[in-house]
């Protein structure tokens, strides 16, 4: 599947889904007017990839500094597919990045982490400038 790269806008995150390498990344902020419209195609392509690509390992990195509740719901949907894939025996790692001292994002990560039992969920604190 072709790599999906979408540059960030003030309201939507930068997207980099490298299906061949099994690396997925969302970064920036996410509060699009219509979260379903933004995340729908991404969810669809992830599902297609998971169905088609056997058991190649997947690393899904999230480095959001803000997301609204609709985006949280969309993330939940993405994570559910990953957890299901992990349940089917695929090696799935979710890297949840948050800035040092950003307890809001850290807490959200912890909340998401509790939903995973098969996939590996890493909470990663970043201290450098940037995301």
């Amino acid at each position: 599947m072709d790599r999906i790269q979408i540059p960030a806008t003030p309201r939507s995150p930068e997207v980099d889904f490298d299906f061949t390498a099994g690396r997925f990344r969302l970064s920036g902020e996410s509060y699009p007017e219509d979260a379903a419209a933004f995340f729908g195609p991404l969810l669809q392509s992830l599902r297609t990839h998971l169905a088609a690509s056997g058991s190649d390992p997947i690393v899904f990195e999230v480095a959001l500094v803000y997301f609204n509740s609709s985006s949280a719901k969309a993330l939940m949907n993405l994570f559910m597919r990953l957890e299901d894939a992990a349940g089917d025996g695929r090696r799935v790692t979710i890297r949840w990045l948050h800035a040092e001292g950003d307890e809001t994002i850290a807490e959200a990560g912890e909340d998401f982490a509790s939903d995973f039992s098969h996939a590996r969920f890493d909470l990663v604190e970043t201290s450098q400038t940037g995301d």
Binding site: E29, V65, Y66, N68, S70, K73, A99, E100, T104, G130
Partner: protein, 563 residues
């Protein structure tokens, strides 16, 4: 075409006999006629999109291009004609004089030689001496007459006719017949030669000169005319036509093909003209685009004004659905509210109500903001009213569960097929002043308390109310009951309060619950209304240049007395 009915204003037709076609005046039609023939008339200049009549029109129309040719011909022709004629006449005159001098010399020579040849003392008596000699003179082609006189003046011999009067066509030469040693001549001889051939020559030359001049003139005029037409007039006419086009905002440029080769100057002018046309075209297009843009902007502004008016009206409705902020004043509670939707109306909702002995404080954050969020708040408001007054529920946990069920029914999220993926976070407290006890239950929303011992955050259930769910899964959360000490302050807030984007250090990050709690703790001694104002100011300070991300609602309440 000029609407002049006068008959003598002949319609300009090519080859019209009314046009004078002299050698110099022939050739191209005048500028006006040409343009009219080409279909460009000025009569309907009021048609839309045309320029006001201006300087360009005058230059493009009023001038007769032929005047340039006329001027050239009229000024140069006489000068050259006079010079050529004068030169030729001068040459003819010099030639004539030379020939005349030669003739005269010849006549003298002949007559002198003959006189010497016949000079004898008795020459007049001896025809054998002079007849042959004198007759020989008639061999000269210009010979007219000869007369010989003896010493006494008697005519000895005469050949030819001597004119009585002098004539310019005749050269006379006389010689005395003298003998060596005698002073007195023994006779005289007069010869007349005709200069008719000379005159004929001179006339021929003069005619030749005039003819040559005329031929030269003709050649000059034709060449000049052809060149001026080809290199000047035709290109200028093209330029004029293009100018007329441009005047009517038809952006035509000038290009010269093989038949017309503009002179360098006109070529330069044409290039400049083309650049100007391109500039005008670009400017005109920009102007049109700008006009369209302004129109679109005006439409947008109008649409925006209507939407804003509509939303302003919606805000009045939404604020009238919200409770009176003093509703719990008589229940022994200090209450301060910060309700600030991101866009006039929003998905944040709060409710304050005395229910008999107890008071209810509720804060909800519905999905979305703006108008969609506001719709959900109305559903929540209606559902809450029914839960409280039809079903009479007083337990926060039960109220949340009931709200969840009603919202999902309302939005057909209970398996009856609906597009709605909406819901709400909600936190609510029941304050029982009698018991000095506060009961809290939350769904995605927490209760923050600031007491002497510090800040505590009591988190509700992780998931919110509403949203489609699998099967008959029900919302379930427990109550948290707190014993309240006077002075304890409680806060229910939506995530719009804590989700303030800012740059506290080197990284952009959200303020978060801890950041808000720090502010509340720092200002805990302030009167509630003032504290909320301080909080709002500090949130703005934290955001700096960042915009708000969400609706903000915070309800602060502080029991004032223990009943």
């Amino acid at each position: 075409m000029t609407p002049d009915p006068a008959a003598e204003v002949a319609l300009p037709v090519i080859g019209s006999p009314a046009r004078k076609r002299s050698l110099r005046g022939g050739g191209p039609l005048s500028g006006d006629d040409f343009l009219e023939l080409a279909g460009f008339t000025d009569a309907s200049s009021s048609s839309p999109g045309t320029m006001r009549p201006g300087a360009l029109r005058g230059s493009a129309r009023g001038r007769d291009l032929d005047s340039l040719a006329h001027t050239l011909f009229l000024r140069i022709y006489p000068v050259i004609a006079i010079v050529v004629l004068a030169t030729q006449v001068g040459i003819a005159w010099v030639n004539y004089n030379d020939s005349l001098r030669l003739y005269t010399e010849r006549a003298h020579l002949l007559v002198t030689l003959t006189a010497q040849a016949i000079a004898r003392p008795d020459w007049s008596e001896r025809p054998d001496v002079y007849t042959t000699q004198v007759q020989a003179l008639t061999l000269d082609p210009a010979f007219r007459f000869v007369r010989a006189w003896n010493a006494e003046g008697g005519l000895v011999m005469s050949i030819g006719e001597m004119p009585v009067r002098r004539s310019i066509e005749l050269i006379r030469a006389s010689a005395a017949i003298t003998l060596a040693g005698q002073a007195k001549p023994v006779g005289s001889l007069t010869l007349g030669l005709s200069t008719e051939s000379l005159r004929a020559n001179a006339e021929k030359q003069a005619l030749l000169a005039v003819g040559a001049s005329l031929v030269l003139m003709l050649a000059f005029v034709l060449t000049l005319h052809a060149n001026v037409r080809k290199h000047v007039l035709a290109p200028l006419k093209r330029l004029l036509l293009a100018m007329r086009e441009v005047e009517h905002k038809r952006w035509s440029t000038v290009a010269f093909d093989g038949a017309i080769r503009a002179s360098n100057e006109i070529d330069v002018i044409s290039s400049a003209f083309n650049r100007m046309v391109e500039g005008l075209r670009a400017g005109d297009e920009a102007k049109q685009l700008l006009a369209e843009l302004e129109l679109a902007h005006a439409k947008l502004a109008e649409a925006n004004r209507q939407v804003m008016e509509s939303i302003g009206y919606a805000r009045r409705i939404q604020t009238s659905v919200l409770p009176d902020r003093m509703a719990l004043a008589s229940a022994g509670l200090d209450v301060a509210v910060l309700w600030e939707p991101l866009h006039q109306v929003g998905g944040d909702y709060f409710w304050l109500e005395r229910l008999g002995d107890v008071s209810l404080i509720l804060v909800a954050d519905c999905t979305g903001h703006g108008v969609p969020g506001a719709f959900i708040t109305l559903i929540v408001a209606t559902a809450l009213d029914r839960v409280l007054h039809e079903r009479g529920l007083r337990s926060p946990a039960e109220i949340l569960a009931a709200l969840d069920e009603m919202v999902r029914v309302q939005l057909r999220q209970d398996g009856r097929g609906s597009d709605s993926d909406d819901g709400l976070d909600c936190g609510l407290c029941i304050w029982d002043p009698e018991a000095g006890r506060l009961t809290f239950a939350g769904a995605g929303l927490s209760l923050t308390s600031v007491t002497d011992t510090g800040v505590t955050r009591i988190r509700g259930a992780k998931r919110g109310l509403g949203y489609p769910r699998h099967g008959s899964e029900r919302f379930s959360v427990g109550n948290v009951t707190l014993d309240v000490t006077p002075g304890d302050t409680f806060y229910l807030m939506t995530d719009g309060i804590t989700d303030q984007m800012g740059m506290p250090g080197t990284q952009r990050r959200l303020l978060g619950h801890r950041g808000v709690a720090d502010i509340l703790l720092r200002t805990r001694k302030e009167e509630l209304g003032l504290q909320i104002e301080t909080l709002e100011a500090e949130l703005a300070a934290y955001r700096g240049a960042e915009t708000r991300r969400d609706d903000m609602t915070l309800v602060a309440f502080r029991p004032t007395q223990r009943v």
